[in-house]
């Protein structure tokens, strides 16, 4: 290897000289001196780059990361919320006003019903959070028909009158009692009373047409049982 080749190797990468170049530089005083100079220049270069700094960079980067994480969390929650609202709207449109919670959809919209008092509604919300929505929605009791009512509810009285007049046996839960309210919540209640459960069907509110439709099969079966 000659001086030019050794110098070329040193200029390409002074830290990784090929063996031949190293041997030449050790033997050649002029190349050794120049090579030492290039190494010093690289050291000066290294120092120049190392002195490039930015105060507070790490703190700003960590802060930016946290803000991004928060934005992502917010976006996720917002997306989840919008999805839930969307699904709710679909379910409502499918069910014509009847939420699908622990029971088959029954297509009766806006039946006359009594709204829950504010205190009762908030208690239902608490129970929902504590117990889960519709935890025992299909528990309708031994009669096969259960109705959730309150003593002050005129529409509940109409519903009970209907059931009695049609000879339908039913279990009643008073949502004014703690046990009744828990059962009402477990059944997916919360939209008002009366709430009627028949097998896995649910009707919120009362109208004769709705009850006729929902109770037709059980009534027929009961009538058949009675006649048999």
């Amino acid at each position: 290897m000659n001086c030019a080749d050794a110098r070329r190797a040193a200029l390409i990468d002074p830290q990784r000289l090929p063996l031949e170049a190293r041997e030449h530089i050790q033997a050649c005083a002029a190349c050794r001196e120049e090579f030492g100079g290039w190494l010093r220049k690289d050291a000066a270069l290294l120092q120049a780059v190392r002195s490039t700094q930015r105060d507070g960079l790490a703190e700003r980067l960590v802060l930016a990361h946290r803000l991004q994480q928060r934005r992502r969390s917010f976006a996720f929650v917002a997306a989840a919320g919008l999805t839930a609202v969307g699904v709710g709207l679909v379910i409502r449109s499918l069910g014509n006003g009847q939420p699908l919670i622990g029971g088959e959809l029954v297509a009766f919209a806006n039946l006359p019903k009594s709204e829950l008092p504010a205190l009762t509604a908030s208690r239902v919300e608490e129970l929902r959070k504590a117990r889960g929505i519709g935890a025992d929605a299909n528990s309708v009791g031994g009669s096969g028909v259960r109705i959730y009512t309150a003593k002050w509810c005129a529409i509940c009285k109409q519903a009970k009158t209907y059931l009695n007049s049609h000879g339908i046996a039913f279990d009643e839960s008073d949502i004014e009692t703690e046990k009744g309210l828990q059962a009402y919540t477990d059944a997916g209640g919360g939209d008002g009373i009366p709430l009627l459960l028949v097998s896995n069907k649910r009707v919120v509110g009362f109208s004769e047409q709705a009850y006729d439709a929902v109770l037709r099969c059980p009534m027929s079966r009961r009538r058949a049982d009675a006649s048999g």
Binding site: H24, A48, H65
Partner: protein
């Protein structure tokens, strides 16, 4: 060191932010753009750490990501600026090889000369001198052949020498001294 996919962003910043900033600064020579590049690189890279294991691989990956980000945001449509036109010219002739100048050791002069270097030369020089990458590794990072990288390094040092020699702060006779010494020393 092994990075957890969902591990500590703070640890990532502590380990690499300063080096990434140095590389970013010398790519664009603007402290604000450099900081933006580092931030974008770390935030983007954070999601993809599952496949990267070794610390060396992490650093090279981050540098490559930062470089790509630089080309995408700071220099959109100007990629050729980071490609040396000399890549296809072949190695420098013996007469073109630069000589070491004593005036090159001063850090301030080096910094000034480094700032005036063409971007392709400055980039490979910094990646080699500061980050310690070999020509093979540099070729992978800048997306060029080893020969092209070697040529850029050679020309970078020559350009640096010329920049420093042309700097009015340097005495002009400094250019002559080593040439005389070369002639006296002769070739082996």
């Amino acid at each position: 060191m092994m990075m957890k996919p969902s591990g500590h962003f703070e640890a990532l910043v502590a380990a690499y932010a300063d080096d990434l900033y140095r590389y970013a600064y010398w790519l664009c020579r603007d402290c604000h753009q450099a900081e933006d590049l580092v931030q974008e690189t770390l935030l983007r890279s954070w999601r993809g750490f599952g496949s990267v294991r070794a610390a060396d691989a992490v650093k090279a990956w981050l540098l490559t990501t930062l470089r790509r980000e630089f080309l995408r945001t700071v220099m959109p449509g100007e990629r050729p600026q980071l490609l040396s036109l000399d890549d296809e010219d072949g190695p420098l002739a013996e007469a073109d090889l630069p000589h070491y100048l004593p005036c090159m050791d001063d850090e301030i002069d080096v910094r000034r000369a480094l700032e005036r270097l063409p971007p392709p030369y400055r980039e490979v020089l910094i990646l080699q001198v500061y980050f310690g990458y070999s020509t093979t590794e540099l070729a992978a990072i800048v997306g060029a052949t080893e020969a092209a990288v070697a040529n850029r390094l050679l020309r970078a040092r020559k350009a640096l020498a010329l920049e420093q020699a042309a700097d009015p702060a340097n005495p002009p006779q400094a250019v002559v001294i080593p040439l005389k010494r070369r002639q006296q020393g002769g070739r082996r």
